[in-house]
């Protein structure tokens, strides 16, 4: 028998070249009309959101270095995948992030200071998804949220909140995870359930090439997009540093999902240009050449080049710089004003219904802490 094929490849949907030219790859041609339908204002908004994301990254890292955050989780390099996919969702859609999708939350209406509260150690969650654009909570146990998203999508189906034929109201679910998380059992189980129940759902993998210090080649020998077909759904690989392609492929997948055509999987090829978190040191495991390769594919300059070619004004870019700087400065100011939670928070909402241990232990802690308020002679200390 001849040697069987053990090398697997997948084409990449790309609309914008790294140099900023709109030159769709063959598999990208079909997505061009979705981009052509975007207004100038929408196209400019993509740029603005990527610029804001990058500026917030700098503010977050600085706050961590100054001891104001326990951790910062940077998105530097992944702005196009996040901004493009987020803008592909409609208001009624539900988005389940991992923990790196800050700009996705902001686009959905979340005040990013809530994310800083989480990273500052003031809360375990931080926001009510229903009041924040259906942007669900960050989930730190990798791939757990893929199942929550799938269950939520099943609920949409059972409720008849999808596939009625009205794209203005039919809802779909978009779930984010990373290349490392694809190795978790939950990620595969979610694909099994989504396919089995034909959920209105899009799985969006940001393949940023590194799971902390381990390269994606350790997670998978074949393109992650090929996993879609293995589970019975379309799997599409997209240039995740191309905001237009990220938008168009996600838009198409979500529209199919909301129309009742079932789930799909997107692998967005991108690169984590910074560290995994501020606790990481990427110089220990990756080369300068690799970083240089990806710097040449930075999603922001390429998109700026294209916008400039279309006639975006220097004033527009200057305004965006100013606005992004203001947003970051405001965020920093408000992060420093965040109040520490009071001790009652330990016991609140552990259960929805009254629980004797919560009441007993909260009361004990209060008594213990306040016992130091009184001096031995009985006077106030």
């Amino acid at each position: 028998m001849a040697a069987r094929e053990r090398e697997f490849t997948a084409p990449t949907v790309q609309l914008l070249t790294p140099e900023g030219a709109l030159r769709p790859t063959p598999e990208a041609e079909a997505y061009l009309p979705l981009v052509e339908a975007l207004s100038d204002a929408e196209l400019e908004r993509f740029y603005r959101d990527m610029a804001v994301s990058r500026r917030i990254d700098v503010a977050g890292a600085n706050l961590q270095r100054q001891g104001q955050l326990a951790l910062w989780v940077p998105s530097h390099g992944q702005e196009a995948a996040q901004v493009g996919s987020a803008h592909a969702a409609r208001p009624q859609d539900h988005l389940f992030p991992s923990y790196r999708e800050h700009i996705v939350g902001i686009i959905r209406g979340l005040d990013p200071v809530r994310i800083l509260a989480l990273l500052r150690g003031a809360t375990l969650g931080g926001w009510n998804p229903e009041e924040n654009g259906n942007f669900h909570l960050y989930t730190l146990v990798l791939a757990s949220q893929t199942l929550h998203a799938t269950g939520y999508a099943m609920g949409l189906q059972f409720d008849g909140a999808t596939a009625t034929g009205d794209p203005e109201t039919d809802a779909a679910v978009l779930v984010y995870y990373g290349d490392g998380a694809t190795s978790q059992g939950d990620a595969s189980e979610a694909l099994v359930f989504a396919s089995s129940y034909q959920t209105p759902q899009v799985f969006f993998i940001q393949n940023n090439q590194w799971a902390i210090s381990v390269p994606v080649s350790r997670q998978s020998r074949s393109p992650l997009s090929l996993r879609g077909g293995g589970f019975g759904m379309p799997g599409i690989r997209v240039d995740g540093n191309d905001v237009l392609a990220s938008y168009a492929v996600t838009r198409q997948s979500l529209e199919e999902a909301r129309a009742g055509e079932g789930p799909s999987l997107i692998e967005a090829l991108t690169y984590r240009m910074g560290a995994h978190t501020t606790a990481d040191d990427p110089t220990k495991y990756r080369t300068d050449d690799e970083v240089a390769y990806w710097e040449a594919r930075d999603p922001i300059p390429r998109y700026r080049t294209w916008l400039e070619g279309r006639g975006a004004s220097a004033e527009f870019f200057a305004d965006v710089d100013t606005e992004a700087g203001d947003i970051a400065a405001d965020l920093r100011r408000r992060a420093l004003e965040l109040q520490a939670p009071t001790r009652e928070v330990i016991f609140e909402h552990v259960y929805s219904e009254p629980h004797p241990l919560m009441a007993e232990q909260a009361e004990w802690l209060h008594r213990f802490e306040t016992s130091f308020d009184t001096a031995p002679d009985g006077s106030a200390a």
Binding site: L147, H148, A153, G155, E348, H349
Partner: protein, 363 residues
């Protein structure tokens, strides 16, 4: 050893005089004759749970069942028998075979307002879902600052005495009782099972509902009109004066047998059914210890770091001066559940309970 018919009841608050014992039927709700009185039926625990599930599903269309083989087959123990025919496959979900995904998707469904009731096929198969239960399900309400509740019930057939193969006879309840954010209960008889499953489903918190599978088949009276106790209340199953013996689930039948034998020897055991393992209702237990001065805790589970350990510590803290003897534990051994041919050696028997009672009385 004393003979004890399976139909005998120890459910002290079941109103046995409210109505004649009806014919055994899982379809409890249809016995209503218009008076609103449904009476007392004789049911196995398995069919009592079926009836409880059916009533809960009729009362609230957000209740749905999820699990493996629970549809047309009715589950490997037939607890969901007939429910997919009545409610359809959108409310009785025969899911793909993946426990973590069953719990994980139930979390998403609960976020959407559903009240999923999961069946884990056997005790030893809950562990693929352990992460979703302990790191996700248990914390969603807290992480959402109360804006989301998690009314998810996880039914787990558990325990030994059925002569089955590995991973089919275990008692993993302590793992879940240890986890904040979860509630853990276990009925010991059909009446409690019928009511407790409905209360568990009504709870806005996640409830692990441990069903003692060796007690699935013995029949007992189920009073369909009187709920009796709240979900998390413990119960004195048999009053006594010399030694308190406490347990849960299938162990209650063992403790009642032990009490019968002890009575023939002139010793009076008070049998306490915990019913709830998290939270534990210590009031009746502490009252009992104050009367008897002696306590034996019995469980099928491994003894090390177990529910029994917690009870022993708590009773020592709260009733130290009432105790005439140390609290003694009777447990499964701290080994994997052995091959079924040895299960009677492993599982606490009435004699093992009485041996501990003898030691307690010898102080």
């Amino acid at each position: 050893m004393s003979a004890r018919t399976e139909e005998e009841t120890h459910v002290t608050d079941a109103a046995t005089d409210a109505a004649p014992i009806g014919t055994a039927s899982a379809d409890a709700a249809v016995t209503t004759d218009g008076s609103g009185v449904r009476g007392v039926q004789t049911l196995s625990m398995a069919k009592a749970i079926t009836a409880g599930l059916r009533d809960a599903m009729r009362a609230d269309d957000k209740v749905l069942l999820m699990g493996e083989d629970i549809g047309p087959l009715g589950g490997v123990f037939r607890v969901t028998e007939g429910l997919s025919a009545e409610f359809g496959e959108k409310r009785v979900l025969d899911t793909p075979l993946a426990e973590s995904a069953i719990v994980g998707t139930a979390i998403g469904l609960a976020m959407r307002g559903y009240r999923p009731v999961i069946e884990i096929q056997f005790d030893g198969f809950i562990f693929p879902a352990f992460d979703q239960i302990t790191t996700q399900l248990s914390r969603q309400t807290l992480r959402h600052d109360g804006s989301v509740s998690m009314p998810v019930v996880i039914r787990v057939p558990y325990g030994g005495h059925i002569g089955s193969i590995e991973h089919h006879q275990e008692s993993p309840e302590a793992y879940f009782a240890h986890t904040p954010g979860l509630r853990v209960v276990s009925p010991s008889n059909p009446h409690d099972a019928y009511w407790m499953i409905q209360e568990a489903i009504r709870s806005d918190d996640p409830v692990l509902f441990f069903e003692p599978k060796s007690r699935y088949w013995p029949k007992g009276p189920v009073d369909l009109d009187h709920t009796g106790l709240p979900l998390h209340a413990s119960r004195i199953m048999r009053p006594g004066t010399d030694v308190t013996v406490v347990g849960h689930g299938a162990m209650i039948a063992t403790l009642l047998q032990a009490a019968d034998i002890a009575a023939t020897e002139g010793r009076s055991l008070e049998v306490v059914d915990l019913r709830s393992l998290s939270p534990i209702d210590y009031g009746p237990l502490l009252d009992s210890v104050h009367r008897t001065g002696r306590l034996v805790v019995a469980q099928e589970a491994y003894g090390n770091v177990s529910i029994g350990s917690e009870i022993a510590a708590t009773v020592a803290e709260r009733a130290f001066y009432a105790l005439e003897a140390p609290v003694l534990r009777v447990s499964g051994f701290d080994t994997p559940f052995p091959p079924a041919a040895l299960e009677t050696e492993f599982l606490p028997s009435p004699d093992r309970v009485l041996e501990a009672v003898d030691r307690a009385l010898a102080y």
